[in-house]
């Protein structure tokens, strides 16, 4: 993707982010995007879980980002509520995403093929 000098440590990442933030421009476009992210069009049953996740995301942000985005830290324990929601969803739907599941099946298939090749070739 042509990304130049990606950071190789958390410290490097923090330094790069601080440099970028010097150019931050919290204008009406940002406000419009934040309004959208706060209340995207979702099926009704997903709206309250999303509100929890959005509040968790906002609460997890360092204060300087929240200030630039015009977001307030929620006055309720959003990080804990998010943790509970994540645990609930994990319990209901299983701990692995479909993409990871398919990737692991691919690795098993490749390993089986390798093992068969090893057997076919005499030691």
């Amino acid at each position: 993707m042509g990304v130049m000098n990606p950071p190789e440590s958390v410290d490097e990442l923090s330094t790069q982010m601080a440099t970028f933030l010097a150019e931050a421009k919290p204008d009406e476009r940002v406000r419009e995007a934040v309004r959208f992210l706060r209340r995207p069009p979702l099926p009704r049953e997903l709206r309250w879980p999303y509100r929890v996740l959005f509040a968790g995301a906002a609460a997890s942000l360092p204060q300087k980002y929240r200030r630039l985005l015009g977001l307030r830290r929620p006055p309720w324990p959003a990080i804990t509520a998010t943790r509970a929601l994540i645990a609930f969803v994990r319990w209901r739907s299983g701990a692995i995403t479909p993409s990871e599941r398919f990737a692991r099946e691919r690795l098993v298939r490749l390993e089986d093929a390798r093992a068969q090749n090893d057997q076919a070739a005499p030691a």
Binding site: M1, G2, V3, M4, N5, P6, P7, E8, S9, V10, E12, L13, Q16, M17, F20, L21, E23, A24, K25, P26, D27, R29, V30, A33, V34, F36, L37, P40, P41, L53, F54, G56, A57, A58, S60, L61, Y65, L68, L69, L71, I79, T82, R83, I86, V89, R90, S93, I96, T97, P98, S99, E100, F102, A103, R104, E105, R106, L107, R109, L110
Partner: protein, 171 residues
């Protein structure tokens, strides 16, 4: 307790099961641990919030993105890229990044920077790509540290996995 029938996964997800190698990261990697977890949902929201702050990146979204008209479609595009580059084999991950680079070619225009100066932007600008990459990494790391489990190799490993695939994505 009954389970609601789950919709079949999309074709691009099933295609992750095809392929000839373990991809750029593999099981046990920091990137698999961070992107495969449910905290990725929250991390995605956090990443998007941060990314709006750079006026060059925001201009590309404002001028060209269909996020207002088709938010779910736009979201699916990003989810697909994240999952394919993380879990797909090397060929699939490289193809996914090339696809995004081709889409980015058309995302150009002008914006006013924080100093009030008019500047051109293009989505494939290495500086803007670095911003998006860094915001994404920062968000996913932060979310995983709060809500996810232990990261194999520690937090630095999530960053350190970046250079090899990031360099190979350069095109």
């Amino acid at each position: 307790m009954s389970r609601r029938a789950r919709p079949d996964p999309p074709a691009w997800t099933v295609a992750i099961g095809d392929g000839e190698d373990e991809g750029f990261f593999g099981p046990g990697s920091a990137v698999w641990a961070v992107n495969g977890g449910l905290p990725a949902m929250v991390a995605g929201i956090r990443a998007l919030l941060i990314q709006t702050l750079h006026p060059g990146a925001m201009a590309g979204v404002h001028d060209h993105s269909r996020y207002r008209e088709d938010p779910m479609g736009r979201l699916d595009g990003t989810v697909r890229w994240v999952m394919t580059t993380t879990f797909g084999d090397r060929a699939a991950a490289t193809a996914a990044s090339r696809f995004v680079s081709r889409v980015h070619v058309h995302i150009t225009g002008e914006y006013i920077d924080a100093e009030g100066a008019r500047r051109p932007y293009e989505a494939n600008d290495p500086v803007l790509l670095a911003w998006v990459h860094d915001a994404f990494t920062e968000a996913f790391l932060g979310a995983h540290l709060l809500w996810g489990g232990v990261i194999p190799g520690g937090a630095d490993a999530t960053c350190a996995s970046g250079p090899a695939p990031a360099a190979s994505w350069g095109s």
